[in-house]
Symmetry: C2
Subunit: 345 residues, 2 copies
C-alpha cells in the first residue's frame, strides 16, 4: 500500500488467469460472476478465492458495452454537511442495492459549475442514470444528458410545469401552510431567514410560500423582513442577531430550514429572549436537530426516506427504458412543537 | 429526459465534431480542455459552447490510458447520516478540487461486504486512489488494491502498528483523557454507550480508552456497564433508559459519540433527571449537535476539516507515486462544557 506502481508495469489479471488459478473454464468463471446461483457452491467458492487472490475485477467497460449497463447510479447533492440529504440518500441506496445497483455520490457545495463538472464526471465514469436535486440548472446539462442517453430524475422538488421528471413535494405550498399557522397565532411582524436563493428553487419557493400566506391573510408581503445567508447554524444565529436589533422587533422568525432555525433559537436564548414567549421560530425539513433542541422545533416534516426509496424505483424503470408518466408529489406534514406561540403582549 | 434511447442508436460526439462546430482545429479543442489558460478567451468560449451544444465529454477511458490518470478519487464512508464524516469530506473535496480532482463517495452503511463491493466498483470506474475509514477490513481488499496499483489512505484512525498509511487521531488515548476527567470529578459508577464495535476500530479503541483510564485510577475496568447499540439518537436514548433502570444507578455515562450522547441526554431529561446534577453525560466528535443541546455537551473535539484537507494532500502525493513516509497523528482536544459535573450527593 505504500507503493503506487506504474499500472502499465503490472498487467491486470484476466478472466483466463482466474479460470486457470481456480482450475475451471472461463465460462464457469463468467457464470460465477454473473449468475452465481447456477454454480455449485464449492466451485463458486474456489472461483471467488481466485478472484480475490489475483485482485481480479470484471472489466466494466467491456461488460457495459455488452449489456449497455454498468449498474452504477450517480447522485449529485448540494451538500453532505447536515443531514437533509443524507437520510433520503440512504433509503435511495438501500433500494438500489436490492437491485444490485451501486450508488456513487458527489457533492457540489451549492456551486452550479461544480455540479456540471460532477455530472460530466459521473457520465464519463459510466453512470446509467443520475439523481439530481431541484430544477435549477443550465439547460445545456439536460441537453448533454439527453445526447448521452442518460436518464435523470429530479428529487426534493416537485414542479409539474418544469417538464422534467421529478419526485418531491411542493415547497411553496408546504411553507405557506406553516406560515398560515404562524399568522393564525396573531403574528403580524414577520421576518424570515432563508438559505441563498440563487440556483436553489427549494429555498425560493419556500419564501414564496411565506409571502403567499401573508397575502391570503391580508398582510402586505413586502412587509416581510428577509435575510439570506449560507446554510449553517452559525449563519442562522448571526441573521437572528440582526433581526432582533430591528425596531419594532419581529415577533416570529420563519426559517427556510431547521439548521438556520436552530441557530436562530440559540441566538435568541443567548440574548436572554424566551422562545416562544418573546419570539417564535419555525424550521423546515424535520431533521434530527429539530427534536434535540429545547423547546423542540415547530417545522415541516418531509418524507425523506419515502422519497429516496421511490426515487430508486423510478430511476430503475427509467434505466430500463420506461419513461416516467408523470412527476410524483409527496405530502409534507406540519409538526407543531414548542417554538411557536402567540406574539408577546 | 423521458426517453432512454439505446446508446448505440446515437453516435457519441467526437473531438472532431466539436472542432468542426466551433470552427477550430482539433488541437485547439484539445488545448481548451487540457490547458485552457493557453487559449484566447474568445476561442475558448466558442469551443466550450460547442462542447455543451453537442453534449461532448472527453473520453476518460482513452485519456486515462494516455495519462494513467482519471483525476477521480473515491471515498468509502460508513454512513452519510449524521454529520461525523460530512465535514471532513467537504474539506477533503475542496482540497482535491483545487487540484482538479473530482471526489466520488460511496456509503457502506457499516456493512463490510458492501464496502468491499463499493471499493471494487470505484476501482472499476477508474478511481486513481481511495480514502477509506478505519483499519478494519478483509486483507483481501488490500491485496486487490495493491494488485491494481491503486493507493489507499486510511482516515479517522491513527495506528502506526497497522502497517497501512493513515491519517487520524488516537481514539483510545483521546477517550482515556476524557474518561480521566470524568473520574477526576469523583465518579466511580461508570457506564458507557458504544456504537457497534465489530468492524469498527474507532468504537473499540474508544471503549478501550475508558477502561484504560479506569485502570489508571484504580477502578476495576470490568465494573464498566457497557451497552452497544446502532448509531442513532433514538438508540442512545433507549440504552440510557436501560442504564438508568440499574440499581445502583451509574452516575456518569460515557458515550462513544455525540449522537448517542444527545439521545442519552434527552432520555435522562424525559425521565425527570437533571444533567449533570443527577447524571453526567459525555460525547465524542464535537459535531454541531453537541453545541445546540441544553446544556451543551462535554465531548472530544476532532479536527475534521484539518484531517480532510491533509488527507487530500497526502493522497495526491501517493497518486503521484510518492509513498507516505509515515502515518500522520492529529491532536484532539477536550471540550469541557455543561454535561459533566460531580456525582450527586
Amino acid at each position: 500500500m505504500t507503493k503506487n506502481p506504474d499500472p502499465a508495469s503490472k498487467p491486470l489479471p484476466t478472466l483466463a488467469d482466474v479460470a486457470s488459478r481456480a482450475g475451471v473454464s472461463t465460462a464457469t468463471v463468467s457464470r460465477c460472476l454473473n449468475a452465481p446461483a447456477q454454480v455449485v457452491e464449492e466451485t463458486r467458492k474456489r472461483v471467488l478465492q481466485a478472484v480475490q487472490d489475483l485482485g481480479y475485477s470484471p472489466n466494466f467497460g467491456a461488460r457495459a458495452l455488452a449489456a449497455k449497463r454498468t449498474n452504477t447510479v450517480g447522485a449529485v447533492i448540494p451538500t453532505m454537511d447536515n443531514a437533509i440529504f443524507a437520510r433520503g440518500l440512504q433509503a435511495f441506496q438501500e433500494e438500489l442495492g436490492r437491485n444490485g445497483i451501486t450508488m456513487l455520490v458527489a457533492s457540489s457545495a451549492y456551486r452550479p459549475e461544480l455540479e456540471a463538472e460532477q455530472i460530466r464526471a459521473l457520465v464519463a465514469r459510466g453512470a446509467d442514470a443520475l439523481l439530481l436535486i431541484g430544477h435549477d440548472r443550465d439547460p445545456a446539462i439536460y441537453r448533454f444528458l439527453e445526447a448521452r442517453g442518460v436518464p435523470a430524475l429530479i428529487a426534493w422538488a416537485y414542479d409539474e410545469t418544469a417538464g422534467k421528471p421529478s419526485i418531491g413535494f411542493d415547497n411553496r405550498r408546504a411553507m405557506a401552510g406553516l406560515a398560515a399557522q404562524v399568522i393564525a397565532q396573531g403574528h403580524t411582524r414577520l421576518a424570515a431567514i432563508s438559505a441563498e436563493q440563487a440556483c436553489n428553487d427549494r429555498a425560493r419557493e419556500r419564501m414564496n410560500g411565506v409571502r403567499e400566506a401573508m397575502q391570503a391573510a391580508g398582510l402586505p408581503p413586502e412587509g416581510l423582513h428577509l435575510i439570506e445567508v449560507p446554510y449553517s447554524v452559525d449563519h442562522g444565529a448571526e441573521a437572528m442577531g440582526q433581526l432582533m436589533a430591528l425596531s419594532p422587533r419581529p415577533t416570529a422568525v420563519i426559517c427556510g430550514n431547521d439548521v438556520l432555525a436552530v441557530g436562530a433559537m440559540q441566538k435568541a436564548q443567548e440574548m436572554g429572549l424566551d422562545v416562544p414567549r418573546d419570539v417564535s421560530v419555525t424550521g423546515f425539513d424535520d431533521i434530527e436537530l429539530a427534536r434535540v433542541v429545547t423547546p423542540q422545533l415547530t417545522t415541516v416534516h418531509v418524507p425523506h426516506r419515502d422519497m429516496g426509496r421511490q426515487a430508486a424505483q423510478l430511476l430503475k424503470q427509467m434505466i430500463g427504458g420506461t419513461p416516467m408518466a408523470q412527476s410524483v408529489a409527496l405530502q409534507t406534514e406540519l409538526r407543531l412543537r414548542g417554538t411557536l406561540g402567540p406574539p408577546p403582549g
